[in-house]
Symmetry: C2
Subunit: 521 residues, 2 copies
């Protein structure tokens, strides 16, 4: 179905008509009445702004927070826009459904319990909802528009959407409410973007009380531990002033397991903003490092998996060294260093260029081209007219998240080269960022006429493919590139024996010496 200007389409294909103003007004009256009741029962009111991967999950966890008697601590309102891009999240939540299918059944359970059973979780589109809140948790996105840049000055970020969201809060919030930003923002954004905007909107309303603004970045991880990544994990926070920080600490302590994971307070909002960007950039740099060495290892005939395995024994210094792979995707690792660079430059007057870190992002950005290169090499022929099946569209195993997935560059390049691309992913039915691409959910259909195969994402069903099954599924298959070290040695040997041409990212010997030689050495 084609999305129209009046519908909002979810990744699972479900489509929702955008609500009319009257319906939303009625809905808001209901929310208002329930919030008043909740407050009478002694519950706090929390509004979560933005129902994306983070906001929807955080709303579910906060709604599940209990007091000593086992009663819900909060009445939680999730707010998102009544727009084609966003309304489906509101609609799903209202139906008691998770917006994002997740391997963590706890996510489904908490949403259903909050919306249907306890009735302390609901969704709204009207910004007056912020006026009900004791705490407003900001989980709107703040994206980088160009993830590949040559110069720091080229970085463009989507600040207007963030600014507009904060203004909506400022227009409606109660004077003493706490605004707790969880969004990953450029360094300096809380102090130099959010605070001035909120103060300006409050001043228009005649509010002179001191603003309570905190930053407490999230470490939400889509996957089987989705809820635990919020409830049972380390959090750092900071505030514009002591009162802000203390309020944020108390609020976090009401739904995070702080007995096991004590909170960490940092001195300034710039410090927590930087902490988030630094920790993700650290990861991105470590991934880029291995990618760079992957190309060298392959060319000189070294199996990098064996090498890394032998190095990881060095506990404490080297055990987190990464493995070769297809690329880096997701919303964070692909952009966070750029937010740091941008904030330093534009909000805080720094002249530092994070040269090595930006180089790492460039290495990661172009990682999928390496797999394309291997494919070209094993095919030993032009890609034009070749039927190439790519297994895996999301960026993470067992998750349907397609944001900044490395599959995107591979598919674009394959199409550019004239290949006929088939896509499969058991967790993705609609690829939001590349809506013209059709993603099969039936493996047989995606592979039936394939001449070449790319194993791009190590989803479990792919890891279980053995030689016999692969040849049955794709009788015309002549070449495979394993970008994720999914194929075991036995499968590889058996396929080679049958004349299949194989390449593996990080598997030098597959290319130079051939698989048998390696197995025998």
């Amino acid at each position: 179905m084609t999305p129209s200007a009046r519908t909002s389409c979810a990744p699972d294909g479900a489509s929702y008509s955008l609500p009319d103003a009257a319906a939303e007004a009625a809905s808001m009256r209901d929310v208002f009445a329930r919030a008043v009741q909740a407050r009478q029962k002694g519950q706090g009111v929390v509004v979560v702004q933005g129902l994306g991967f983070v906001g929807s999950a955080v709303a579910a966890v906060i709604a599940d927070a209990r007091d000593e008697q086992g009663h819900p601590r909060y009445f939680v309102i999730g707010v998102d826009l009544a727009s084609p891009a966003s309304f489906w999240k509101v609609a799903k939540l209202r139906d008691g459904l998770v917006p994002f299918p997740s391997p963590d059944a706890e996510f489904d359970r908490l949403i259903r319990r909050g919306v249907v059973d306890m009735r302390n979780l609901c969704a709204a589109t009207d910004e007056t909802a912020y006026g009900l809140a004791d705490v407003i948790v900001v989980d709107v996105g703040l994206d980088v528009e160009n993830r590949h840049v040559d110069q720091p000055a080229d970085i463009r970020i989507g600040l207007p959407a963030f600014e507009s969201a904060l203004r909506a809060v400022g227009r409606n919030m109660q004077p003493h409410a706490l605004v707790m930003v969880e969004t990953t923002v450029p360094i300096g954004a809380c102090e130099h973007v959010a605070a001035p905007l909120l103060r300006e909107e409050r001043a228009r309303r005649g509010i002179t009380d001191s603003l309570k603004l905190a930053h407490a970045y999230e470490r939400v991880m889509p996957g089987p531990q989705y809820m635990a990544s919020i409830r049972r994990f380390w959090r750092s926070y900071s505030g514009l002033d002591d009162a802000s920080a203390e309020a944020a600490g108390a609020f976090l302590g009401s739904f995070v397991d702080t007995a096991t994971f004590p909170l960490r307070r940092l001195a300034t909002t710039t410090a927590t903003e930087m902490a988030k960007l630094l920790e993700n950039s650290y990861r991105a740099v470590n991934i880029a490092f291995i990618h760079e060495w992957t190309r060298l290892a392959e060319q000189v005939g070294v199996n990098l998996f064996d090498v890394i395995d032998s190095i990881r024994v060095r506990q404490g210094t080297h055990d987190n060294i990464r493995l070769p792979g297809f690329g880096v995707g997701g919303y964070c690792l692909t952009k966070d260093a750029l937010l740091a660079q941008w904030g330093g430059l534009h909000l805080l007057g720094s002249d530092v260029t994070l040269e090595m870190t930006l180089q790492a992002l460039r290495v990661n950005y172009f990682m999928p081209r390496h797999t394309l290169g291997l494919l070209t090499e094993v095919l030993d022929d032009s890609l034009r007219g070749k039927r190439v099946t790519v297994l895996g569209v999301s960026y993470l195993p067992e998750v349907g998240d397609t944001r900044s997935t490395p599959t995107e560059m591979l598919v674009a390049d394959l199409e550019q080269a004239g290949a006929l691309v088939r896509l499969h992913d058991p967790y993705v039915s609609r690829w939001a960022e590349r809506s013209h691409a059709s993603v099969a959910r039936d493996l047989s259909a995606a592979m039936a006429d394939a001449q070449a195969l790319v194993l791009a994402v190590p989803h479990k069903p792919y890891r279980e493919l053995d030689a016999a099954r692969l040849r049955r599924l794709a009788p015309q298959l002549a070449a495979i590139v394993d970008a994720q070290n999914m194929m075991n040695d036995q499968t590889a040997a058996s396929l080679r024996a049958a004349g299949m041409r194989l390449a593996g990212v990080g598997k030098g010997h597959w290319r130079r010496l051939g698989y048998q030689e390696r197995a025998g050495s």
Copy 2:
């Protein structure tokens, strides 16, 4: 005393006359006789080529290896050149002394026991010693001559010395002896440099037996666990062929605690060569990453120590993230990536450029300039004529090793700027790489007239300096740069209160807001 062409001067100042040929011939006859006796007692004969930081320590550990009855397994001969640069190591060992003063008393004990008590450890300068060996352990240096390069093609390495050492082995070795290279070498060096040279020399002697050549890189760490870093740590190895690898595995197993640290065999010598270079480059990249962010953090007023402390709680992914500091020194981390780049390019025909990794080495190379910048800033005046005391000349706390120490660039820059530099290091009396520089061992003398102070290396005596002591030692002191986060908050506050200007690497608030503000926030 000035070293002459006929003397060899140790770092501790001891000077040795180079031996004449007759004396060395007599010494060699004695070694020969003892080796024959040892073999009659069932001991193997091991020659360690190169008595540097690695070779001298490895020789001590191998000499200490015991059989089931508690008898020494080996008669060990350490060989180095009768040259001004090297002979002092031979002379020290002959006297039963460690060549390199070490905080590990076990090193002294093993050398003395081997040389004096058990008499199964000796030193020689004559290459005929290799002819006695069952195993020749190659620990000669293979240095990169220019640690700062803009282009991979610019890298120059000291291959001739390595080649010449290997030729000496080939000219003398027994046909079935194992040559086990521990030296960190460019990728491809065992297969494409060592093996051809050894085969050529052996062919001249009519030896047609298959060459036994292995690579088993060391992970020796100067410091309090010097001996344990050889005996009780992970080792990887490989061989030109199965027989070579098996011989190396058996030999390593005779002195490494393989019950606790099982050996890892890799498929090729290129693989172990790369493993060594990759693990050190990984470390270098992680250090460079933090340095890059250190500059940003300082400029925007963030205390990076607090930030990193809050991130390290993420066990398994982020707990090995590094701290801001003065720089990177030592023989390995400053060059190993260059060896990988060089070997790929010149020995193995790879066209890969390790761009991000080489950028990391550049960042690290120039790290000391950042401390210089902070010093200039806190002095708020020209350095010309200023008396600046630098505490710490070695590259590692509690160790006297000055190889590639970051202090070198700082001191050169200070002198260039016209500062009057005083140096102190409790573990360094003679700075081999900068022999005109005088290093005081008396702290009072080094600090008496200092106007500015750089805390460069966190040696224990420096970490214990409090405000009162600092002011007593240096009454004219007006500025301090703490490059290693050595100074605690109390000392800093007290010094500031007395009008001292302070800066700390990675301590944004010291610069921007002043220390009190930070303490109060």
